[in-house]
Assembly symmetry: C3
Homo-oligomer: 205 residues x 3
């Protein structure tokens, strides 16, 4: 094992963990949104707050990178990880926002599978962030997120097939496709986060 020449300041790991934990909360809001009797306006409001809180953490990370002389890993990797986590939140918030913006009343059942993948990715990501400090036991995390992304991609394509099956009017398809695309982009963003973690592991361990 290589000598770790980086200082043991755990603040960055804590901030990444808080950012990823915010994603777990966001993913739960997505699941609430799908419930038949959801108060969509209330969910949208809480999602906006969650997104705002995540933004604050991201800015705190960036400020700290710029004012810290020695960082636990390369500055560019810290930026990439922070903005990768932030991207996930943005896409989740976008999905919720579009539902109210487009005044969509009924969401296709197929969305449940996508949101379940998002919830699972969020939990795995939040659990893995504290392990960045030891850089141990991270490979199961990124392997599983990659597997989930494949699963999500299959659900995404099945959902598209349903949308275009003729059961929906063109305008409704346009609206729903935007929402489904946001969910799929959230899953892709989780995969990018996992790839960044893998690269940090390769570089630093």
């Amino acid at each position: 094992m290589a000598l770790r020449l980086r200082p043991v300041d755990s603040t960055f790991y804590e901030l990444f963990t808080r950012s990823a934990t915010a994603l777990v909360g966001g993913a739960e809001l997505l699941a609430e949104l799908l419930a038949r009797d959801a108060d969509r306006a209330a969910v949208a409001q809480r999602m906006r707050e969650a997104e705002h809180a995540c933004d604050e953490i991201t800015h705190e990370i960036v400020r700290r990178v710029n004012s810290t002389f020695v960082t636990p890993f390369d500055r560019e990797d810290i930026y990439a990880l922070a903005s990768g986590l932030d991207d996930v939140m943005d896409y989740m918030e976008e999905a919720v926002d579009l539902v109210s913006l487009y005044e969509v009343t009924s969401l296709p059942e197929e969305l449940t599978a996508l949101v379940e993948v998002i919830q699972r990715c969020a939990v795995l990501t939040a659990e893995s962030m504290p392990r960045l400090q030891s850089l141990k036991d991270l490979d199961e995390y990124w392997i599983e997120v990659n597997r989930l992304e494949n699963l999500g991609d299959k659900s995404y394509r099945r959902t598209l097939a349903t949308l275009f099956s003729g059961a929906y009017e063109a305008l409704e398809v346009l609206k729903l496709k935007d929402i489904v695309d946001s969910l799929e982009k959230a899953i892709d963003a989780f995969e990018r986060v996992a790839n960044i973690v893998e690269q940090i592991h390769v570089k630093e361990s």
Copy 2:
């Protein structure tokens, strides 16, 4: 204040300023396009020329980076800034091009707010480029562009709500959404330029 070890060759700053000034011209063409009695074919032709001129400046910057031994800041940052400015022009040109390609006859009034944000971003960006040399008084620029991007995002979402309100046919929505998306991507590209400038400032000052 840190010693500046870079040579004082001002050509790069002049090229960036010319590129950003071309964006001011492009933004004015967008505003002309929205006028009720606009000669759209003529505007599209002038936009193509503006885009071509901007391309030339970008290539000149890239050539100069590749042939210059010591650059005013990191090569990758110069590439990023040059192609960031070029991206803005590409999206503006795309918007104008789609209007004539899709033979759109009436543009929704909501577009005016988006184009005003673009015009304001273009002026701020062009004014800030010469200040890259001293790296002073740049923070107001990127803070204001970030604020404008938020404003633009709100206008963008309001425009989408109008498009999907039922007042437009599906095919018209498809066309107009592509155009609105191009304008929004232009605003996002301005924000990326501002972020690149901020990063250069952090690294070099």
Copy 3:
């Protein structure tokens, strides 16, 4: 001419060549798909296999970068080139997949021009990969790919104009636009590969 301090291990060049050769195969499958009497299910199956084979090569390159002490050029450039080639395959596969997913029965004739550009780009890319070792005679390759991308962009816009001309129903336009967008993204990805090769050439020669 600068001294080449990198070892003469030709494995990376062979892997890049195999990856680009897989793209030639993928482009041929796209052309088959357009044939009036194409067995689309069979083409889609072979495309999935081609995409899978390309993935394997990409992973082999990444594994080798991570386990090799001295690489023929910068690690990040090897990553970028490998994933750039992989992106092309992903977009080609996406196009084929969408045709069967959306149950599109008739494809507009305009797609032929786009697929021809893709075929030409694939052949040029595959021919240029072995020349990465000597870094000679590469400029014609990237100049020609850039020219083809411009040509492809014109075909793309012509295709969009046809789609929105009123000859197609909104739902059909939505489906076909997704497919056309995938083809256009494949061409853009070829251009990015050519730009990466150009940058490697500038750095290393």
